[in-house]
Amino acid sequence: MESAELVSTSGEHAYISLTLDAGTWKALSNIFKQVGDEITLFRDGDRPALYQMDKGHTFMLVGKLSAEVEGEAEGVVFTDELYNFVRKLDDSTPVIYKFKLLRDDECEVSIHAKGQGVETFRREYPTVSKPFSIEYDCSVECSTNVKTLKQLFSLFTDIATIKIVIDGGRLTVWSKQDGEETKVSLPVKATGSDSYFYTGYLVAKIVKHLPTTAMAKINLFKPKSRSSDRILGITAYYNKHELMFLIAPRIVEEDQRW
């Protein structure tokens, strides 16, 4: 069940509204919670889309959802409220999330599970971080499934610096810290080869919360302004929804690299 529906149409207020089944909301809000308390929701053509940058400005979520969208307003998903509402529902229950702008500084949200109740609340319009706007080219791309990716990154949950290497049809994660060395790889379909340094526990945390049934694409992106750096892109495809995390590289002094 993934179609758009209006809860009510006052006609006076700008709004944005979409419907997804509770199971999909659960999977998505579980990810949103890792990014922030509020996620920006907007209309991208005929699809709902979202973005958010984390408070530390080290990664950004850009999502494109596969559902029809009603309304034109830029809105906010309140992740805690959404998660607490949907977690009690059966996965197949259709849930409508509607954001309505009341004034410049006040909004109203209603979360409606058909036949199972509605929650409505008003909030101050929150200040939401804008995404970093960078132009970049893809340096290398590979794909695998999320389950294997989770296994791989579970080894790096408390590691500060990791090196991600895509080469020879393998995705390798490599750390050297406090006299300990860990290097683990898995076979992938890759378009070329490249490598860069990232924060291990940050990437591991993001991967840990991706829906396990999803397929994933890993990219190293070359920013046009700093062509020696690489931004890490992790995209998960879940029920035709596309969730892309862009993760900033870790600053590692030249003599500390390997």
């Binding site: 294997t148 080894l155 006299g179 290097k183 683990v184 790889s185 898995l186």
Partner: protein, 263 residues
């Protein structure tokens, strides 16, 4: 037959570089069987080669519980060393149970060692680290006189201990009666008893043990066990409890000292 098809018996592809190091190679599934039991004892584990098998033992820091295992594993080199349970658990969790894991222990001097874990499956990789060598105390010997014995299967044993899992587990009384294994807990006047039909020897007995530790130990035993034997033993003036677990790859033996109680 490839190493992937029969990791238990197949020799590792590489031989160890020098006599001061030992390599043990087996499947992640077999390592997990071993590690899940030994992690309850919260101590590093001593290993030594024994024919075409490897023996493992340790004792918990409070010296109440000893666990031993003798499993079929490919072993090369010096033939003795330490397994760092926590480090290994952190590494093997990422790999499927049919992946092959080679554990190499190398003594650097009298006090330190270098360990290399190398896994091959869908994921492939290694981890290397150095640790100080701190040998756990010698495991206490298993007394040979069994006053009472009960044989059952792992499912029955786990089910029986599940009954007392949620209770306040200070001391549990283990009784081997006629064709029954019984557990009893007491919380002030609240007495709870559970029993399961098992095969027992003619002689019967009972003993008192640390309930939470015993429950945790039973929970950690591998579901692949073929049979399980519970024995109350006769030591100098106490009655330790022994659990013998017979596995396709070998066996596990746990001995727990009793508590001085009588009710």
């Amino acid at each position: 037959m490839s190493i992937m098809e029969n990791p238990e018996k197949e020799q590792a592809e590489n031989t160890v570089a020098d006599a001061s190091q030992t390599a043990i190679t087996t499947s992640v599934g077999t390592w997990n069987t071993l590690l899940n039991v030994f992690k309850v004892l919260d101590n590093d584990v001593v290993f030594r080669r024994s024919d075409d098998m490897v023996e493992f033992y340790t004792i918990d820091p409070a010296h109440v519980l000893t666990a031993r295992a003798k499993l079929s594993m490919a072993c090369e080199g010096d033939g003795q060393g330490l397994v760092f349970v926590k480090d290994m658990l952190d590494f093997v969790k990422a790999f499927d149970k049919n992946a092959v894991l080679r554990y190499t222990f190398k003594k650097l001097d009298g006090y330190s060692c270098e360990v290399r874990l190398e896994a091959r499956g869908q994921l492939e990789g290694f981890k290397t680290f150095r640790r100080m060598i701190v040998m756990p105390a010698e495991a206490f010997p298993e007394p040979v006189i069994h006053t009472a014995e009960a044989s059952t299967n792992i499912k029955t044993l786990k089910h029986l201990f599940n009954n007392i899992n949620s209770h306040r587990l200070d001391t549990v009384k283990v009784s081997i009666g006629e064709n029954a294994l019984a557990l009893e807990t007491r919380d002030d006047e609240d007495v709870k008893q559970f029993s399961a039909p098992v095969n027992t020897t003619a002689s019967l007995d009972r003993g008192y043990y640390n309930g939470s530790m015993l429950t945790k130990m039973v929970k950690s035993l591998p579901d692949t066990a073929i049979t399980v034997k519970i024995s109350i033993l006769k030591a100098a003036d106490s009655k330790p409890l022994a659990i013998d677990v017979f596995l396709p790859q070998g066996y596990l033996n746990v001995v727990m000292l009793p508590r001085d109680e009588d009710w």
